[in-house]
Symmetry: C2
Subunit: 333 residues, 2 copies
């Protein structure tokens, strides 16, 4: 292997290995002259530091872990993509780790995982993001973590999210503007905090406008359970003219239920979802929904972890923008 090493660069630049190391790591107290000289040698030789050696020698592991426990390949893939891009950008490794937050031994799972690898920090995704035992284990080991879309233990770590509440409000106003007054709700899993926030935001806005929520049914974030919720809601005598499901999968289930009952979407019932996941454009008519920047959330979370220290920020929640996406599934009643 003809790899270029740090000592090749040092020789080429006529400086010590350590100086090259300083330039690479942007350490303070390096003169401009030296920096320029070294950088030129690095560029000329096409030097790329060896991750294994860096992590062996130094304090950092150059690896970020992502804790996953989401059944939706869409969601997971977007998270992985974002985290991966951030790692790529900074020359880090990405480690995926699947935990099962529903099991009792979740703390043990987390501890096991830590035994196996050195990791600089973790990105926690829902529903692990709200899983206290995991937070406790990480804190006990002093490993930094960033959470995505947490709804519990605010301020316990840096976090990234969208404003689920006002997103749901905006969707409510969208329906209202079209002329809908009577609504059905398809709820998410109880442990999924953000789903509860969406529901509350929607209801609050509708109440403020003077509309009514005819009924709520459990949709469980899945297509199948969404069908069940849809069938129940749509069979009612006082059928709502519009249904808001807490994610796209269950919204697609509602649309399927409508088809089974011979009702047309959006003519007989308007439907909206949440996430703008892939399924939103794989049903007909395409689903009106809220776009969530999942990839960006993961990217930012990962970068926050990597650059931690360079700008010591607090444990606030950083909100990214969502966007209402109007598609064919919602029209005036």
């Amino acid at each position: 292997m003809n790899r270029v090493t740090i000592s090749d660069v040092a020789k080429a630049a006529g400086v010590s290995m350590k100086s090259v190391s300083r330039v690479i790591n942007r350490e303070p107290n390096v003169s401009d002259k030296l920096r320029v000289k070294v950088q030129a040698a690095i560029d000329a030789l096409g030097y790329v530091p060896d991750l294994a050696a860096r992590s062996l020698a130094g304090a950092r592991a150059f690896t970020i872990g992502v804790l996953l426990d989401n059944p939706s390949p869409n969601y997971t893939m977007k998270i992985v993509t974002g985290a991966y891009q951030a790692c790529r950008k900074h020359g880090y490794h990405l480690l995926l780790e699947n935990l099962e937050s529903a099991r009792n031994d979740i703390a043990e799972q987390a501890a096991d995982m830590l035994r196996n690898a050195r990791i600089d920090g973790f990105v926690l995704t829902p529903p692990i993001t709200d899983c206290e035992p995991v937070l406790a284990v990480l804190e006990a080991q002093g490993i930094p973590y960033v959470r995505i879309a947490p709804t519990s233990f605010q301020g316990r770590s840096p976090a990234l999210a969208i404003d689920d509440c006002s997103a749901a409000s905006e969707l409510a106003r969208h329906f209202w503007g079209l002329g809908h007054r009577r609504f059905g709700l398809v709820t998410g899993p109880p442990e999924h905090g953000a789903a509860g926030t969406r529901r509350a935001g929607f209801k609050a806005q509708i109440a403020e406008l003077g509309g009514s929520i005819v009924a709520e049914e459990y949709g469980g974030f899945q297509f199948e359970t969404g069908i069940g919720a849809g069938l129940t809601l749509l069979a009612r005598e006082d059928r709502p003219s519009a249904i808001f499901a807490m994610n796209d999968d269950s919204a697609a289930g509602v649309m399927s239920a409508a088809a089974q009952l011979g009702l047309r979407v959006p003519g007989d019932v308007a439907v909206a979802g949440f996430d703008d996941s892939w399924i939103a454009q794989s049903v007909w008519p395409n689903l009106t929904t809220i776009y969530q920047p999942i990839t960006e959330l993961a990217f930012e979370a990962t970068e926050l972890l990597i650059e931690r220290g360079s700008s010591e920020q607090g444990n606030g929640v950083r909100l990214l923008d969502y966007r209402l996406i109007e598609r064919g599934s919602t029209v005036a009643p």
Copy 2:
């Protein structure tokens, strides 16, 4: 950090570091007595070798790369899951690498990627699996690779696949058994070799049985393009009674097209797809399709790479089992 190191184990077992190393790596010429003694110490201390140190010191990098260029999150996620499991099992790192096989500089992309990391081997997924410049770059560097579902350059590397041809035949016989005689085909992207194999297998079987292919339309593996193909096929005067799309996404598009034309699936037209991807159960009626063990393909491919050498096998194609999944989208005409 209280990590247990190899010398802790050596001390505990009363042997040299090197002996511990031998046991870990299953090197030959180690007495049973020593092996047992060392293994006991390893277990007692919960020792896990440090990947960074191993890869720095040794010839292996303990990292497997997966080359990806597939727009479907479903497919990609399943591949990643399988590869990840294999890496996990053997204590390897997994490196994801996105290439764009449609661009001209694909060889350069591949070369760039190799400059940045030491990697023991690559898993190539479609369509990169059939991308000659990439194969050439890997071979030039002497890096082993395993391909998933290749249709070109057979015998140039080990490969894993399912028998697309006979899977498509089976689907054809399924339709035939239900009483269908006149078929429409929704094709895949031209560069996707396996799609061509499916088509050929289906046509050959139908021809042998004496049925007719009314028409073929380009479906491009995507939902949107599937709608277009469906609209064209279903508007024909001699409308086929059954449609086979080369993947599930485009099949779902066909179903959507049927709905738009006021045709019912499966009453007016039966539809089948291929992959058993997530969308197959997210449409109504659920889609009849061929289950492909994508996760297993990736798992086996990765493991083949990791265990390479221990059993030097040739460049054959190893076939895994597919399975016809009958769901609601196909009934008798």
